[in-house]
């Protein structure tokens, strides 16, 4: 599904990724861990095509396409979703209208018919119920006045509606209390399927108690320095990142 091949990338003027390679197959869940400043968020932003991150070397193949060649909105329509670490507020635009605009833009790109408001309403009502979220989320302006937990829940809800092929969660667990963490991770688990992959960027192994990864990678100084299974996350939790440098 996703093949990152020896990528170097800059965020602003600073080189952050230095020869990163990673392969994600359909249905797999990969956790990316690592110390602050290692380049975890840059990886997410690079894949989503955020303008301030620029690849200087290497390639990224996504379902047979050169991902780095696509505009960010094209990547979204191809099935790349980024759950932001700091979701922004858009005053006056209600969440449902925002999501329908997004979904129909993606459908248009893929040559599909737009979804009318009645169909869309039925679909989101079902999703919000399945994900155990409150439906006032739909009527409120995008993230305006949301608590940290509500914003993260909204990201996962949007993911559920847009049904991406590759979902990248950028520290979605940070700032969540235990109940919110459960709702968010239950949402992610519901979306797991044999043809949908996840990259979960996190500091803490506690999220991985709820979302069980197939692989855990440690990202340090711009590249993956160690890969393993869930056991690796537990070792990191106990020993920190220091031992990796020895």
């Amino acid at each position: 599904m996703l093949k990152i091949n020896d990528v170097y990338a800059k965020a602003g003027d600073k080189e952050i990724l230095k020869g990163l390679s990673l392969e994600v197959k359909p249905g797999e869940v990969h956790a990316i861990m690592g110390p602050n400043g290692a380049g975890k968020s840059t990886l997410g932003n690079l894949l989503a095509g955020m303008p301030h991150v620029e690849a200087t070397q290497g390639s990224v193949d996504f379902l047979g396409k050169d991902l780095l060649d696509l505009e960010p909105e094209e990547r979204a329509a191809e099935g790349v979703f980024l759950a932001f670490q700091y979701p922004v507020e858009i005053p006056g635009v209600n969440n449902m209208y925002f999501l329908r605009t997004a979904l129909n833009a993606q459908r248009k790109y893929r040559g599909e018919e737009p979804m009318d408001s009645a169909q869309f309403l039925r679909m989101v009502k079902q999703k919000i119920k399945d994900m155990n979220m409150r439906d006032d989320l739909l009527k409120r302006p995008v993230n305006v006045g949301f608590s940290g937990g509500e914003k993260k829940r909204n990201e996962v809800f949007q993911m559920g509606v847009l049904e991406p092929k590759l979902a990248i969660l950028d520290e979605t667990d940070s700032g969540l209390d235990i109940d919110a963490l459960k709702i968010v991770s239950d949402g992610v688990n519901q979306l797991r399927s044999p043809d949908r992959s996840f990259i979960i960027i996190t500091h803490y192994q506690r999220l991985l108690d709820h979302i069980e990864p197939d692989f855990v990678h440690v990202l340090a100084d711009g590249k993956i320095v160690k890969s393993g299974t869930k056991k690796l996350a537990l070792e990191l939790e106990e020993q920190g990142y220091g031992w990796l440098n020895q």
Partner: protein
């Protein structure tokens, strides 16, 4: 003094776009002008030669078969106008206007005797024009629930649903007809809110006004449908000087909407209108404007100069006047729909969205004059500046000595798109009463990279993202518009934003 003046969120009330926005999001002027109302109707018309003197005014008055008192009113206004100077206090660069180069009367009916008696007799070309503008006047295709008075250059060409409205006592007609059919009402209220000496453009209008709409809602009547006037400038080198007068008697209610468009031309054209509203005890008037005069091209060539005086008098107790405007057109907009809150417990509202692009200039806002006790006013202004345009809010809140417990809330938000435009806020407050409570909030913001990125990541293109964010920014004003027109206003904003991204 227990006056409360809050400035929240606003750093500097007079902010010009800085240079901190990233280069990759440089906003260019729209590549191709998409003003779909820019066509010209090829129709035989009678047009006075350019020029303005007392004879011109006598001729206009004769064409209209006006009574002596109205001619005197016009001539008096003209003499006042001649002694006045064009105002220059607004933040506008106004090229010198040659008032002798303008024609002051143009009528699509070749002569007065042939004037249509009913809509069936109206020239098909005119009906077609209004069809094209989305305002069908035909019996079959009329807008449901909306009565329309169609003004073409200097004359009203037809009014729909007149008979239906008469059944409930509502008078809705062209101004010229009202002068003949209801002279006592016109005489009583003409100039009662905006005197002919009020300002330069109001004086000019009082001298040469040609047509417009007249509305009277009798006591206790809730007008059963939306009333609207569609103003169309067609003839070249003419000005449009319309006059609208709306009177809502005790306990009456009316919602009125005006729309306006003009052909695309390289020459500037002048539009100087006067609107007067009068609300008696417990009466409510809701006045909405969707202003889409030709704004000029991307190099600032052509476009309408829009100098308008709009004022409402909340004469009665517990009366209410609400102005809602969506201003996207005109090369220059100079317009301050205001409320005089004379009756105790009366209230005034002003909701405004003003969008300027390319080289457009707007200086718009409101005046809320609190005279009665317990009077309230609300001002919500949303200014959006794009391209090289300049957008200013100018507002006055005045509380008179006897206006105990007056309240005002003003919120003034500016959104800048690109780095060559400007947003300016000029709030004036004058309070002579210790019990007044005035609040002013101002913000200036730009569409942030983060907001755009968020939309892009969800699959929404940059152009659609800007439209979405701007629509959200204007929400508080759009929700005040009648439903049918809120949709139109949003579409209009999208067209005006087209090409905002380079």
């Amino acid at each position: 003094m227990k006056q409360k003046l809050e400035i929240k969120g606003g750093k500097d009330p007079n902010v010009v776009a800085g240079d901190d926005q990233e280069e990759n999001k440089v906003v260019k002027a729209r590549a191709s002008q998409k003003y779909k109302e820019g066509f010209v109707t090829d129709i035989e018309s009678f047009t006075l030669p350019p020029g303005l003197d007392e004879d011109t005014i006598r001729q206009i008055s004769t064409f209209k078969g006006e009574p002596e008192w109205l001619l005197d009113y016009r001539l008096d206004a003209f003499r006042k106008w001649q002694k006045m100077e064009q105002p220059n206090w607004a933040k506008l660069k106004i090229p010198e206007i040659d008032f002798q180069a303008i024609s002051y009367y143009s009528s699509p009916n070749a002569n007065k005797e042939n004037a249509p008696k009913s809509l069936d007799e109206v020239d098909p070309k005119l009906l077609e024009t209004y069809d094209k503008l989305g305002v069908p006047l035909h019996e079959r295709e009329r807008l449901a629930g909306v009565a329309v008075d169609a003004v073409f250059d200097s004359v009203s060409v037809g009014t729909t649903f007149k008979a239906e409205l008469e059944k409930v006592g509502v008078i809705f007609s062209s101004f010229s007809e009202a002068v003949h059919d209801h002279p006592e009402l016109v005489k009583k209220y003409l100039g009662s809110v905006v005197p002919s000496s009020d300002n330069y453009f109001a004086a000019l209008n009082a001298a040469v006004f040609s047509d417009g709409s007249f509305v009277y809602i009798p006591k206790g009547v809730r007008c059963p449908m939306e009333l609207s006037t569609y103003f169309r400038i067609n003839a070249i080198n003419t000005g449009q000087f319309e006059r609208t007068l709306i009177v809502a008697d005790e306990g009456a209610y009316v919602s009125y909407l005006e729309g306006c468009t003009a052909p695309m031309r390289d020459e500037n054209q002048l539009h100087a209108a006067v609107v007067e509203l009068v609300a008696m005890d417990d009466a409510k008037i809701k006045y909405s404007t969707v202003q889409n005069w030709y704004p000029g091209d991307e190099n600032g060539k052509g476009g309408i100069y829009n100098f308008v005086t709009k004022r409402g008098n909340c004469q009665g107790k517990n009366s209410k006047i609400s102005w809602t405007q969506v201003e996207t057109g005109s090369a220059i907009t100079w317009k301050y729909p205001s409320c005089i809150l004379r009756g105790d417990d009366s209230s005034g509202e002003f909701y405004s969205v003003a969008l300027t692009n390319n080289y457009q200039q707007a200086d718009t806002g409101t005046k809320m004059i609190h005279l009665g006790k317990n009077t309230k006013s609300t001002v919500i202004s949303k200014g959006i500046s794009v391209g090289k345009s300049q957008n200013a809010y100018r507002g006055l809140v005045r509380v008179a000595k006897k206006a105990d417990n007056a309240r005002n809330f003003t919120q003034c938000d500016s959104l800048l798109i690109g780095k060559s435009c400007g947003a300016h806020t000029f709030p004036y407050t004058e309070s002579a009463n210790m019990t007044a409570k005035l609040e002013h909030e101002a913000t200036t913001s730009k569409i942030s990279e983060d907001q755009l990125n968020y939309c892009l990541q969800r699959g929404i293109s940059e152009e659609d993202a800007i439209s979405l964010i701007v629509d959200g920014f204007c929400k508080e004003v759009f929700k005040e518009l009648p439903m049918e027109f809120a949709v139109e206003a949003k579409a209009l904003l999208d067209i005006s934003l087209e090409g905002a991204i380079g």
